[in-house]
């Protein structure tokens, strides 16, 4: 059965993008965000919930595109 994954893109005032992936296991989460990171730019911050290494459910990646 197919599993649903929710992805939230947050764009701040300076144009920086934060990607939050929900309802997904750690390793899959990284593969989803990795493709997106490559499309957008450099990653400045990567956070996972504490359960990441034990079947985590969400992860967050911030991508910096704007100025300082």
């Amino acid at each position: 059965m197919a599993a649903k994954t929710d992805i939230m893109f947050t764009i701040d005032e300076a144009g920086n993008i934060t990607i939050t992936v929900e309802n997904v296991k750690g390793k899959d989460c990284t593969s989803i965000t990795k493709e997106l990171e490559e499309a957008f730019g450099i990653v400045v911050d990567r956070q996972f919930t504490s359960e990441y290494y034990q079947q985590a459910e969400s992860g967050r990646v911030s991508i910096k595109l704007g100025g300082e």
């Binding site: 197919a2 994954t5 764009i11 005032e13 595109l65 704007g66 100025g67």
Partner: protein, 134 residues
Amino acid sequence: MSHFTTVETKINDLVALKRALADLNIQFTEAEVNQECFVKGYQGQTTGALMSIHMSKSYDIGVKVDAKGNVQFVADWWGVETTRGWAEEEFIKKVTRRYSYHKVMAEIQKRGYTLENEEVKEDQTVQIRVRTWS
């Protein structure tokens, strides 16, 4: 002496950049294949670029692409600020913000994600929620 100064960016998608400029009501000209268009600066000086963004009657911002595929903006920023009222940082911020929006939307469409919700918060942060099945 040249008055043109180059600013590096992480912008790498010209389609999303053009959409961002359109949102901001800024006119621009694109060069023909294998040609360059004129970018105007101090006292009528010009330089060549892939695109010329027309900020005022006498000042443009040129768009160049570096070896990594990232956009560089080239301009006489003093002239742009004096005639248009936009400082370099303000231009970069405004363009990057709209660029990021169009870049996210393009990636969502490309990957076939389903758009669930789009919201602009009080602090002007944009939140886009999508769903995918795996």
